[in-house]
């Protein structure tokens, strides 16, 4: 939950930095409640990567050596699935990533499992399988640098990227 709050704060900061008026999202402390998002929100076009990152949330996080979706992650993906239904022309590549505390080869396999877990959950929520593909980067593309638990937690992730 801490991570979600952090990422929300980050998003708000990002929006503020863009100089736009975040009418829809600023009123909410939860990045998940974007039901009132119109096709243009926070100055970004709907159905784009920016829209996904700012108004929906593009990623979910995993525990150490795990590809299980937590309840937070599931909640996040429900929002993402609604967004996918709203923008039916959008297709996504789901990237699986790991922290640095494993070997390259094992982490490539684990990253793929994380990406698959996210993909399969979205399919379970009614997103067409043909709109989702996966790729694993293992530990090669950390989101946050640093050899510490906070960084590792941010790096154990699956991230949706609009194709």
């Amino acid at each position: 939950m801490l991570l979600r709050i952090l990422s929300t704060v980050f998003m708000l900061f990002f929006i503020a930095a863009c100089g736009s008026t975040p009418k829809d999202t600023a009123s909410s402390s939860d990045a998940g409640t974007i039901t009132e998002t119109s096709s243009v929100s926070g100055g970004v076009a709907g159905g784009t990567q920016d829209d996904l990152v700012i108004n929906v949330g593009d990623r979910v996080f995993f525990g150490y050596d795990s590809h299980d979706l937590s309840s937070d992650a599931q909640e996040q993906l429900q929002v993402q699935a609604s967004w996918m239904k709203q923008y039916s022309e959008v297709s996504l590549t789901v990237e699986g990533h790991c922290d640095e505390r494993g070997t390259r080869e094992y982490n490539i396999a684990l990253g793929e499992r994380r990406a698959q877990a996210m993909k399969n959950y979205l399919i379970g929520l009614g997103v067409e399988a043909g709109r989702l593909s996966t790729i694993s980067y293992g530990k090669e593309r950390p989101a946050v640098l640093g050899s510490n638990d906070a960084a590792y937690a941010q790096n154990r992730r699956a991230v949706a990227v609009v194709n």
């Binding site: 080869e105 793929e112 640098l145």
Partner: protein
């Protein structure tokens, strides 16, 4: 006489390493020690001014090779009494006994047309006799003389230690550069002494985990070209690469079979998402799935007889090492300790399996017998992984990544660097293998043909 000496040397090694292993157990790392042999490596003599420099260079390459092995101490040239011209005619063993050289290498270089003729003689100083001699013809241009230096180094190493050589070999590895988190990763190759360094890919796409063919100048590796992570085959002589197989999902963690005719690797069917082990025949291009388990199966490595495969799986509670027949039958777990085990590699001598281990937040490189007995750790670091064997089974190379420290804004202050290291498998003589950029995923070639 020579046989006796070699035997004595081998016993000395065994005795020293064993006795120290038991003493060092409390820190978990076995550090063997050996008594390196003092050897006088003289500059190869030439009366032709155009060959004097290469004579000196050959001697230097051999000296550096033997010194890095940890089994020899090349004596400093300033201590030599007999000069090279005189030595070239006949060694005065008394002069070499005084400086306590057990062995003496002499050689000469002559020019014949466009070639150097390089000859060497290795002497046992105390026995007062020659052990081995040889001669090579090599083109004057370029630095082919370096290969001759490595071949002579191997002759010396083999004659004195009784083990196979490893100097006339190359290393392929991943050269890393650029900002942390976005490092460019390129295939690079170099001689084992770091000379003749060459990049094989341009860095426009990421490559990982290269491995040498045991029989040809080919490399298999994983590439992210076109954002499709797949196993590729690179022909060093032709400078060409091709994809291995036509798999609809990710293929990775490749290694050659001992005969070089097959590649074993992991494949993740994108409709399932689980990694299983496949063997691909490079001639027929037929593939065969050999594991079928809901766990992650990864990092396969053939036994030198080609009959078994050791691999890494998280079936069960944690990551462990398993051995199976090449058809996937008779799967047996071999790792028994606490912690998690990764990246097993079978020694070319058949006797040992090297691996990466993670326990209590520390990373280790270790070796165990092929049934999992007598596990011992030989290197320990914040992060160390991916061992590769020298072709004589005496040394391991791997890479370490240092801990990354960041400031309050998440910018890297220090660390996060990857470097190659090698070590004697007794746990003795660990040293960095210097590369122009950062390095990871080293793989040792067989002895060159």
């Amino acid at each position: 006489m020579k046989k006796i000496k070699i035997l004595f040397f081998a016993i000395l090694l065994l005795f020293n390493s064993n006795s120290l292993i038991s003493e060092e157990l409390e820190i978990g790392i076995s550090q063997g020690s050996v008594k390196p042999t003092p050897i006088a490596i003289t500059e190869f003599y030439s009366n032709n001014l155009n060959a004097v420099k290469v004579g000196r260079d050959i001697s230097e390459v051999i000296s550096n090779n033997l010194e890095r092995s940890g089994l020899f101490i090349p004596l400093i040239k300033e201590s030599f009494i007999q000069n090279n011209e005189s030595l070239n005619k006949q060694p005065r063993f008394e002069d070499w006994k005084i400086i306590k050289a057990q062995h003496l290498l002499s050689g000469n270089v002559n020019i014949d047309g466009n070639d150097f003729i390089v000859k060497f003689k290795l002497f046992d100083v105390y026995a007062g006799k020659m052990i081995v001699e040889g001669g090579y013809r090599v083109g004057k241009n370029g630095n082919d003389w370096r290969r001759v230096s490595h071949i002579i180094s191997d002759e010396i190493f083999e004659r004195i230690t009784g083990e196979g050589g490893y100097f006339d070999t190359r290393i392929v590895y991943v050269a890393e550069s650029g900002p942390a988190g976005k490092k460019q990763k390129r295939l690079a190759i170099m001689d084992q002494d770091q000379a003749n360094h060459l990049f094989l890919t341009d860095g426009s796409y990421m490559v990982l985990t290269p491995r040498f063919s045991p029989t040809s100048q080919k490399i298999t590796y994983m590439s992210y070209i076109n954002n499709e992570p797949r196993v590729y085959l690179y022909d060093i002589e032709k400078g060409q690469s091709e994809i291995v197989g036509d798999f609809p999902g990710m293929t990775f963690a490749p290694r050659f079979s001992p005969d070089g005719k097959k590649i074993v690797m992991s494949y993740t069917d994108s409709s399932i998402g689980n990694s299983e082990i496949y063997v691909m025949d490079l001639m027929t291009r037929m593939d065969e799935r050999i594991t079928n388990n809901p766990g992650i199966d990864v990092s396969p490595s053939f036994s030198p007889d080609g009959k078994k495969i050791v691999f890494n799986s998280n079936r069960g509670t944690r990551q462990h090492l398993y051995v199976m027949d090449v058809n996937g039958k008779n799967v047996k777990r071999i790792s028994k300790g606490a912690g998690s085990y990764f990246t097993p590699v079978w020694s070319p001598r058949s006797d040992l399996i090297a691996f990466t281990k993670v326990e209590g937040g520390q990373f280790y490189i270790g070796v165990m017998e092929t049934d999992g007995k007598n596990e011992r750790m030989i290197s320990k670091a914040f992060h160390v992984e991916g061992p590769t064997w020298s072709p004589n089974g005496r040394y391991l190379m791997y890479y370490k990544q240092s801990q990354t420290f960041t400031d309050s804004e998440g910018n890297v202050k220090s660390g996060g660097e990857s470097r190659l290291f090698m070590i004697d498998i007794t746990g003795y003589n660990e040293r960095e293998v210097i590369t122009p950029l950062e390095g990871s995923d080293p793989a040792w070639s067989p002895l060159l043909q």
